[in-house]
């Protein structure tokens, strides 16, 4: 590979980040995928589109989210100065809504009258149901039957918001199967329907489009850190399922060589057990859901189940741009087990009065390992991408507490 002077130019016109990405979809969908790309390119150039998105982000979502100095955690760990990017304070409780608003505005622009989405933990489903209620668009959310069982509050929330939640029983009845069924719905309703994908994956232009909508996280962080400390952060840490919150935080800093970035995958019961969701640490490149990326799969190319206590990280793939950033070495990718995440979940609740979602609890567990090794003037930002209300039941059960 030749030396590059930017990590932020991707993808190419065919949607490739190095060998990753692409448009691996059924022919029925191809004209629509091309149409979405064209519409998105036009919207990007239209100042009124960005202005409308910004208005909703400020007045409806509550952005900018604070960059908060976690003093007690910093003192406890005794190393880097730890900041939380507080995206859990967004309306609906996670970063997902940043992207959903952008795509819903695009769907409206394209004249699509119906929206579908897939969801794992339910956060993307709730965000989609929320924005569809706001914009008065009929909404169908596909959710694995297994996930419906472990995320009941979010299922009810989506129904309250007027969405139809369709249980997915095919395959392993989790996020990947929900995505399969959403794609099947899309193929059958290609004229009327816009598919709001919840992460930086899927066929081009989705990985780039979702990234762009999530970059508000990193752009705000950059400006806030400048105000608070007068310089760039040194270390960024974020959890990775599909990887949208991490991409949103990392991307604006990719061309700053002084900024170290750590993406944290879910190691489930441990990488050596095979029961995990760490596609980059324990998988290999393959093609699924419209893109080439790292996947958990067997020697016959069959996709394997992911395992994680966090339904939001329980996906056997990862966004193609992360796959590329891994191969180039620009971003480090580590993995945190269920047990380590649970410990971080409890520590953060007690020290900072913030109950984190299980997804950022993985990032937090990595911070617990990394921060003590860093000097006190190292500015570390962890993306608190979701709040833990939805996980209280799962954690209680794990800790043997009857509610």
């Amino acid at each position: 590979m030749t030396t590059r002077n930017t990590f932020r130019a991707g993808p190419d016109e065919r949607g490739h980040f190095g060998i990753y990405g692409g448009r691996f979809v059924a022919e029925t969908l191809m004209p629509l995928v091309l149409e979405v790309e064209k519409a998105y390119e036009a919207a990007k150039k239209d100042p009124s589109f960005q202005a409308e998105l910004d208005w909703y982000l400020e007045h409806y979502v509550g952005r900018p989210s604070p960059l908060y100095y976690a003093a007690r955690l910093t003192e406890h760990l005794g190393g880097a100065k730890i900041y939380f990017k507080r995206d859990e304070l967004n309306h609906t409780g996670a970063h997902k809504i940043n992207n959903v608003l952008g795509q819903a505005l695009l769907a409206r622009r394209m004249g699509k009258r119906r929206v579908i989405a897939e969801t794992g933990a339910g956060q993307h489903g709730v965000a989609t149901a929320t924005v569809c209620a706001l914009f008065d668009i009929p909404c169908v959310v596909y959710m694995g039957a297994t996930d419906i069982e472990r995320q009941k509050p979010n299922v009810f929330r989506m129904k309250l918001l007027g969405a139809e939640v369709r249980p997915v029983t095919s395959g392993t009845a989790t996020l990947k199967d929900a995505m399969n069924d959403a794609l099947r719905d899309w193929v059958a309703n290609v004229d009327t329907t816009f598919y709001i994908i919840g992460t930086v994956a899927g066929p081009h232009p989705y990985p780039a489009m979702v990234r762009d909508f999530q970059c508000v996280i990193g752009n705000e962080t950059r400006a806030q850190m400048q105000r608070l400390e007068g310089r760039l952060p040194d270390t960024l840490v974020a959890a990775i399922g599909g990887g949208s919150n991490a991409m949103g935080l990392f991307h604006p800093f990719l061309d700053e060589p002084s900024v170290r970035m750590i993406g944290v995958e879910a190691a489930g019961k441990g990488l050596s057990t095979g029961l995990h969701a760490a596609s980059m640490n324990g998988g290999r490149p393959g093609v699924l859901h419209g893109n080439r990326t790292y996947l958990l799969q067997d020697e016959d190319g069959q996709i394997k189940d992911a395992h994680s206590i966090s339904a939001g990280l329980d996906y056997p793939g990862v966004g193609p741009e992360h796959a590329w950033l891994k191969d180039t070495g620009r971003v480090e990718y580590t993995a945190i087990t269920d047990d380590e995440a649970i410990e971080a979940f409890q520590l953060c609740s007690k020290l900072e009065g913030i109950i984190p979602a299980l997804e950022p609890s993985h990032a937090l567990a990595q911070v617990m390992k990394t921060a003590p090794t860093l000097p006190k003037d190292n500015l570390l930002v962890m993306n608190m991408c979701g709040r833990g209300d939805k996980d209280v039941f799962a954690v209680a059960e794990r800790l043997g507490v009857k509610l």
Partner: protein
């Protein structure tokens, strides 16, 4: 280059009739039963055979073919074994065209170069890969064509006059018209819609056109056979395997009886 596919369509033209294309998932319901059905398909009236390559996440398939894939996976099918089934078939039948249909990832993991070589050597004639649109031709379409395999394109109701030339560029063997916007084994297209699509397709290609998705009965097959060069039946046969196996019946006999009835329907519809 005239392969088995071209020769078969030429022979059908000579006979003045359309062909019957059958789709079954390789290894469904188990490998020995499947081998028995596979071997008997030409005698039962299948003019061209499509073999499904099992994949864990078949995003364009409906419940019947999803379930067939799970049965085949449980029975221990792999891509290597699927190719082996064709190799065995070829020891007895060197004329019936065989096309593999499925998704890209198992082939990508097998290795494109090795796959093309092994498929060709086993006597496989062509490929239909659902998740490889023309935009991804570098992946497999070009190596397959270079390796002597036909690359069968999918045209759909969303393929308009602007899209069709892109879709049909480098098509070979035949064109597979997916007659509905949707997944396998669900809706059926109307005769009028198929007729209109055929007129449009014929403007863009001289290749034979096979029509599939939603054809379940001999009557429907006959209607399509009047318009197209071949009718493809998949989910209905796959569902018969599931139903017969569930009742503990003779799966091979049941599915072959259906193939005979479909073949009779197609043959009746002389053009």
């Amino acid at each position: 280059m005239t392969g088995r596919i071209a020769r078969r369509f030429a022979a059908l033209k000579e006979e003045g009739r359309a062909g019957l294309v059958t789709y079954l998932m390789a290894g469904d319901p188990d490998i020995p039963t499947f081998a028995k059905i596979f071997e008997a398909l030409p005698e039962a009236g299948a003019d061209l055979i499509e073999l499904g390559m099992m994949f864990s996440d078949p995003m364009a398939d409906g419940p019947a073919i999803q379930a067939a894939g799970l049965r085949a996976q449980k029975a221990g099918i792999t891509l290597r074994k699927t190719i082996g089934l064709v190799r065995d078939f070829r020891t007895r039948d060197d004329t019936t065209p065989i096309v593999l249909m499925g998704y890209y990832n198992p082939i990508y993991i097998y290795g494109v170069e090795a796959f093309v070589r092994d498929a060709k050597a086993a006597g496989i004639d062509g490929l239909i890969i659902v998740d490889l649109p023309p935009e991804e031709d570098e992946e497999l379409a070009k190596p397959a064509l270079k390796g002597g395999l036909d690359w069968i394109r999918l045209a759909t109701p969303t393929s308009d006059d602007k899209r069709l030339p892109v879709v049909l560029r480098d098509a070979s063997g035949f064109v597979y018209y997916v007659s509905i916007a949707g997944i396998t084994g669900t809706k059926s297209a109307s005769v009028e819609a198929v007729a209109e699509a055929m007129t449009r397709l014929r403007r863009h290609t001289t290749l034979p056109v096979a029509v599939g998705f939603g054809i379940k009965t001999p009557e429907q097959a006959a209607e399509v056979a009047r318009l197209a060069d071949a009718a493809v039946v998949g989910s209905a046969l796959v569902q018969k395997i599931a139903d017969t196996a569930a009742k503990g019946g003779d799966v091979a006999a049941a599915v072959l009886a259906d193939v005979r009835a479909l073949a009779a329907g197609v043959r009746k519809a002389r053009r």
